[in-house]
């Protein structure tokens, strides 16, 4: 299976906190796909784990990499744009 990767920006003034983490986990679980998120050139974490996402301690203004194990660009784009939406706060 191939992996599609994209970038998102944390726009929420509070940073990457519990609420968006919960929203992303819910989305990822519903998609049934494996999705990983991390800071560029750092270890990626599974996006089905709210604690791991919170432990990234993403700050407002930081860029994150999103990797989705799928071949369907349309599905991937949809997930990425929703994650970006959650990170707007």
């Amino acid at each position: 299976m191939s992996t599609i990767s994209a970038q998102v920006v944390i726009e929420d003034p509070i940073g990457f906190h519990a609420r968006p983490a919960g929203q992303i986990v819910k989305l990822v679980k519903e998609s049934g796909l494996e999705v990983r998120i991390g800071k560029p050139s750092e270890k990626m974490v599974k996006a089905n784990s709210p604690l791991s996402l919170m432990a990234l301690k993403g700050k407002s203004g930081e860029t994150l990499v999103v990797e989705i194990d799928t071949e369907d660009q349309g599905v991937a784009d949809g997930i990425v744009s929703q994650i970006q939406e959650f990170l707007k706060g």
């Binding site: 940073g15 519990a18 974490v45 599974k46 604690l51 432990a55």
Partner: protein
């Protein structure tokens, strides 16, 4: 009453009494000390799974019984509890030899340490540590929940109750007694809203045992061991002497629904419109037009009479998402209320503009006031800003002791002042209003508060400024008579209390109210001030 009935004094919540058997909630038992397992790793993993599932379903049950905000909290907690990464971490701990409970607590601790040092997660860390304890408790068969009976009638007795505790109150809970806590504690607020008779801040209750019969007598501010309802203190009955109350009685509101409810009460106008709800829940700043629409809708729905609108009262403990509010060590003493003007002048200006447009559209008699004013300069700054933007009456909240002496210089600058007695008490007595051990200082019958109120009423009258009270104290019918006697021109109560407060204020004339307030001022303790005032009131009946 026979002398073998032991009386335990506290602070009453509600007007109805109840007599029932005590159900004593014991302090949570400590968890066993960390230990190793006996070698069956699979069995330990199964124990973790089943304890996690059990705690999950407890959270679901709690969530289902709660209103929306609390339910969201429980859903988030459940998602964290079911986090696979947490389980994998627990498995690692089991591999190292720890038994299921210890392994889960250690796994939680690993994440707590990862999240530590970031203020955004402080409360979450406390939450997940609590989850860890609950799971470990389940593994060891130690209940950390309340395990309340579902049937029968019980008076719940405990130290104090958290939101997670009160969410578990069953119909069998007919009365509540807390050893700590005060009139503004979470327990008091929940009991008031669910009409459960309660006595809080009742030190003597620590010796009560399950099975004892007690009378919970909120009107008498006491719990009586072994007594039945015939010993309950009767609520004061007020016999109307006039058609109109001595001073006008307004209602406190915070939303459109409140405004609609208030309009069905006998309230003459609104004495406190808290505007935070319009902002606390929105991620982006509502546009000017959205604000105008909200205010127009709410102003139009308010009961007839003046409407006192308070500008935004946010702080780092109740942050508005779209205003940048950094964490503060002491939010109650930090940048809150009108102090936001330094960073957010545009926002407060826009709010005042929106209120002015809504005022002009609805033609209502609108008064605006700013919260958390501590100096003459701040009062004048707000007055000048507000008068440059609209034709409403302009005033300030009196919450800080420091502003009281400035009232005499504010004649001609302000049209009115309104006392928020909850915050005024907090700042007068240097007592956190939510602190469970300091509830007794939040009692509005405290002589120090009554004396400060007397000064505020006098100074306002001398300066020709209308004075009102919109704090919790104005919802106490007997206390509203004290306020009128001290010289306040209006009081504002929760919509559900407006009727009671009006009856009280229709039962006395100005001279009588002054005698009552004079009696209250002579007390050396909250209990004495209250009983002196009530004795004076009772003396008019004869």
């Amino acid at each position: 009453m026979s002398s073998n009935h032991k009386v335990l004094s506290g602070l009453g919540v509600g007007l109805e009494a109840v007599a029932a058997e005590v159900f004593r909630v014991a302090p949570a038992k400590p968890l066993p000390i960390p230990a190793n397992h006996t070698g069956d790793k699979e069995a330990e993993m199964r124990k973790v799974r089943s304890a996690v599932d059990a705690v999950s379903s407890q959270l679901q049950e709690l969530g289902a019984k709660s209103e929306e905000t609390t339910r969201e909290i429980f859903e988030a907690l459940e998602m964290i509890l079911q986090d696979e990464a947490l389980f994998e971490q627990a498995v690692e701990q089991i591999d190292q030899g720890f038994e299921a409970g210890t392994a889960f607590v250690n796994a939680v601790e690993t994440f707590a340490e990862l999240l530590a040092g970031d203020e955004t997660f402080e409360e979450r860390i406390a939450d997940i540590r609590d989850l860890g304890r609950r799971v470990a408790g389940h593994v060891h068969g130690i209940s950390l929940g309340l395990d309340l009976p579902n049937t029968g009638s019980y008076v719940l007795v405990g130290e104090d109750f958290s939101p997670a505790d009160t969410a578990q109150f069953t119909d069998a809970v007919v009365g509540v007694v807390t050893i700590a806590g005060g009139p503004t504690s979470h327990t008091a607020i929940i009991c008031r809203s669910r009409s459960i008779p309660a006595v809080v801040s009742c030190q003597g209750a620590k010796d009560l045992l399950s099975g004892q019969l007690v009378l919970v007598d909120p009107v008498g501010d006491r719990v009586v061991v072994g007594a039945d309802l015939s010993s309950a203190t009767r609520a004061l009955s007020f016999v109307s002497k006039s058609q109109e109350p001595l001073v006008s009685v307004r209602a406190n509101i915070g939303s459109l629904e409140d405004a609609v409810t208030a309009a069905t009460s006998a309230a003459k106008g609104v004495g406190l419109f808290r505007t935070e709800l319009l902002y606390l829940s929105s991620k982006q700043k509502p546009s000017l037009q959205q604000q105008i629409d909200s205010y127009t809708e709410i102003l139009a729905a308010c009961p007839e009479g003046p409407i006192v609108v308070r500008t935004i009262d946010a702080g780092s403990d109740k942050p508005v998402p779209f205003l940048n509010m950094p964490h503060e060590e002491n939010p109650a003493l930090g940048v809150r209320g009108f102090r936001l003007i330094k960073e957010h002048r545009d926002f407060i200006t826009e709010q005042l503009k929106a209120i002015e447009s809504a005022r002009a559209k609805t033609g209502r008699d609108v008064w605006v006031m700013a919260p958390m004013i501590a100096s003459y300069q701040e009062a004048v700054e707000f007055a000048e800003l507000a008068r440059s933007l609209g034709e409403y009456k302009v005033g300030i909240m009196i919450e800080t002791p420091g502003i009281i002496s400035a009232i005499k210089h504010l004649g001609g600058k302000l049209d009115f002042v309104s006392v928020g007695t909850n915050d005024l008490s907090q700042y007068l007595f240097a007592a956190d209003r939510m602190h469970s051990q300091l509830g007794a200082l939040m009692n509005h019958w405290q002589p120090g508060l009554i004396s400060a109120l007397a000064d505020i009423a006098n100074l306002s009258a001398m300066a020709g400024i209308h004075s009102g009270v919109c704090g919790e104290s104005a919802s106490d019918p007997a206390f509203s008579i004290v306020l009128a006697g001290l010289g306040f021109n209006s009081v504002s109560a929760s919509p559900s209390q407006v009727g009671q407060v009006r009856s009280a204020l229709m039962s006395v004339d100005k001279d009588q109210a002054m005698l009552v307030s004079k009696a209250a001022l002579e007390g050396l303790s909250a209990e004495q001030s209250k009983s002196l005032a009530l004795e004076k009131l009772a003396s008019f009946e004869g």
